[in-house]
Symmetry: C2
């Protein structure tokens, strides 16, 4: 990398159709976990003009009004009138859910299948990442991108800009000198809006009420490029403008492309699915390593075989920023974190209905109290183990 370089990340608001799908899937997951923490859930949502389809595999004793939950999630987001292009009350909801395959279940259940422990719910690879670029130990570009779309939601909901509609996207290109972010090269902000606001008024309002409150002043220069609603018109939006599917914003959900990704989606999946739980564990490990001061940047890769409890691989990479040998660091990680599926669920207390809120504005870098994988409560133990 040359000494000066650019890095770009993007985010979308809670009204983006893929995120609507994610929130419906996780809304259903939460409703099920509230009644039946041992349920097996893989809930996929498709949403398009006038229609929501729920599919996937769910095995539970809970009595769930799938239809009602889906409608309520859409209502909360704000698609509540056909003038908006989508109305939670009058849309169709098709429910085409199946049960978990008995062949998978016997491999995953504790005490059944070839491995007597609780096997991983699927094979797969997952990455966790942390870097000391921000207070939440997340990369700066995704952090700013998320804050922009969150800010759009705030000024839409508190009435500051009443002509805003739920669908929005942001994109932030930061200039780095070496590994330090030093300035804003370009910002893209597209937001859905009512018919009767002009492009000029919209641009000005977005600049004042969305961009200025979020973007660090010292990073904005005369060379910073702004693209505000660059298509010139974004009245049609949400599920009518673009079909939404669960699991289609996996880079927005994680590190904005800065850390690597194993490919597994999160929303709608109960924590027996390592795609979700092991990605959370990977973040927890990486964040604690950085919080402990053992590295400035840390990426953890985990992988699993379906039906098998022990991870098939554990890799800790620090990109040359480790304060102790990486072999030692890997050993410390293995000693201090139980990375079998059941160990992760216990360590992070994952059998709770905490998922719907994670389905917008990122699963990582969050500060709510029940987001256990963001806690740095292992940092002391790691420091001690490292002899620091």
């Amino acid at each position: 990398m040359s000494n000066t370089s650019l890095f770009t990340s993007e985010s979308v608001s809670e009204g983006h159709p893929d995120k609507v799908a994610d929130q419906i899937s996780d809304g259903i997951l939460d409703a099920i976990l509230t009644e039946d923490p041992k349920a097996r859930v893989a809930c996929e949502t498709m949403i398009n003009t006038g229609m929501i389809v729920l599919s996937g595999e769910i095995t539970t004793s809970a009595k769930i009004e799938y239809n009602e939950i889906a409608r309520e999630v859409v209502n909360e987001i704000g698609y509540n009138h056909s003038d908006m292009g989508f109305d939670y009350e009058s849309c169709a909801v098709l429910v085409a859910l199946d049960k978990q395959s008995p062949d998978i279940a016997q491999g995953v259940d504790e005490g059944r299948g070839l491995d007597p422990n609780q096997g991983a719910g699927d094979q797969g690879l997952m990455f966790g990442f942390a870097v000391n670029e921000t207070d939440v130990l997340m990369p700066a570009p995704i952090t700013l991108a998320q804050r922009l779309t969150q800010r759009q939601s705030i000024v839409r909901n508190d009435g500051t800009l009443p002509w805003l509609r739920p669908d929005a996207k942001s994109q932030v290109t930061l200039r780095y000198e070496g590994t330090q972010p030093v300035g804003l090269d370009a910002v893209v902000l597209s937001t859905q809006h009512d018919e009767d606001i002009s492009q000029k008024d919209l641009e000005e309002a977005i600049r004042e009420e969305v961009l200025k409150p979020v973007l660090p002043e010292e990073w904005v220069t005369k060379d910073t490029k702004f693209h505000i609603n660059p298509t010139g018109r974004f009245v049609i939006g949400g599920p009518v403008g673009d079909c939404g599917l669960t699991g289609r914003k996996i880079i927005v959900d994680t590190y904005g492309g800065m850390g690597r990704h194993g490919g597994g989606a999160f929303s709608g999946k109960d924590p027996s699915k390592v795609d979700r739980s092991a990605a959370y564990a990977g973040r927890y490990v990486a964040k604690n390593v950085v919080a402990a001061g053992l590295a400035d940047r840390c990426e953890v890769q985990l992988s699993y075989a379906i039906g098998v409890a022990e991870p098939t691989s554990v890799r800790v990479e620090t990109f040359g920023t480790a304060k102790i040998s990486e072999d030692k660091l890997e050993q410390i990680v293995r000693d201090n974190f139980d990375l079998r599926p059941k160990g992760i669920v216990n360590m992070l207390d994952l059998l709770r209905p905490i998922y719907k809120k994670t389905a917008a504005y990122g699963h990582f870098g969050r500060t709510e109290d029940d987001i256990t994988w963001e806690k740095t409560d292992k940092a002391d133990a790691l420091r001690k183990a490292a002899g620091i």
Copy 2:
């Protein structure tokens, strides 16, 4: 990274439900492009027990039998009888397609909207990657993982192992010394099968007919761990065992997690969508840089604003392996590749019906003649520009 480290990648076969969805979406795209190369296509598929749902946004003059194409794709893959759990003839096909939003279209069409050029079909970030680890300049783990699932398909279709069924997954953990892959740490292979084959016979046959022909002998040691059908039973498979969605195997589609990912999916999208076309262009750039000998490993990040032709950012990273300065390399890339949406379409001749085959076994590292983004025909020009 410590000197010895593990890296894991996975692949899935053409019968995996997410890949079935990808192939249906790209089968429809190809049918449309055959008749109407200027069509706008964003086709999303959901497939589950007894049902295929087609959704998304399509604007075309072509007359398409959506229903028939979807059924034929499923038939070719081999889900052709209810004994298999899914039958292409008797399943439901729901078609819920809409047109491209006129607000998006006016921003993307050449000569309309705020930018008079053909604007990008969406905002977003895309990565291209290449590394001289294999002859196709792809990372070794994903290459082996893809060859394993491809091999499963070959021995299923040529009758060698007639009890195989279409759904399969592979996973390969390689041991690296520094940046060189040196051995196989673990291999996972799960394949769907007929009822009447025992776990023991299956294991032996998979070892002989799938693993041995693919895995480099010199990398297999007595410590290599093999997990063959680790759940112990995989008769139920395909869309009945797991709901499939378009765009849910984006890491299998690309670099197996070794290169980074911007999050955009490929299948079902015509090349005005930069999620697809710019990711192909990124690969083309990175591969030509490595083929030219200007770096051993190259990652390109591009980003776009919707409705705007010029990329909002271009970043070339070589992880310290560049033979010339990275600033110069970035300039050479800018001078030799037109990275505006229309430039990419022309450069790579993308308005052809070539996409269905890309929807299984990876979009990169392919050797077919019409896969233009894998050609190294710019290497000479790059070398010349670099003065080598």
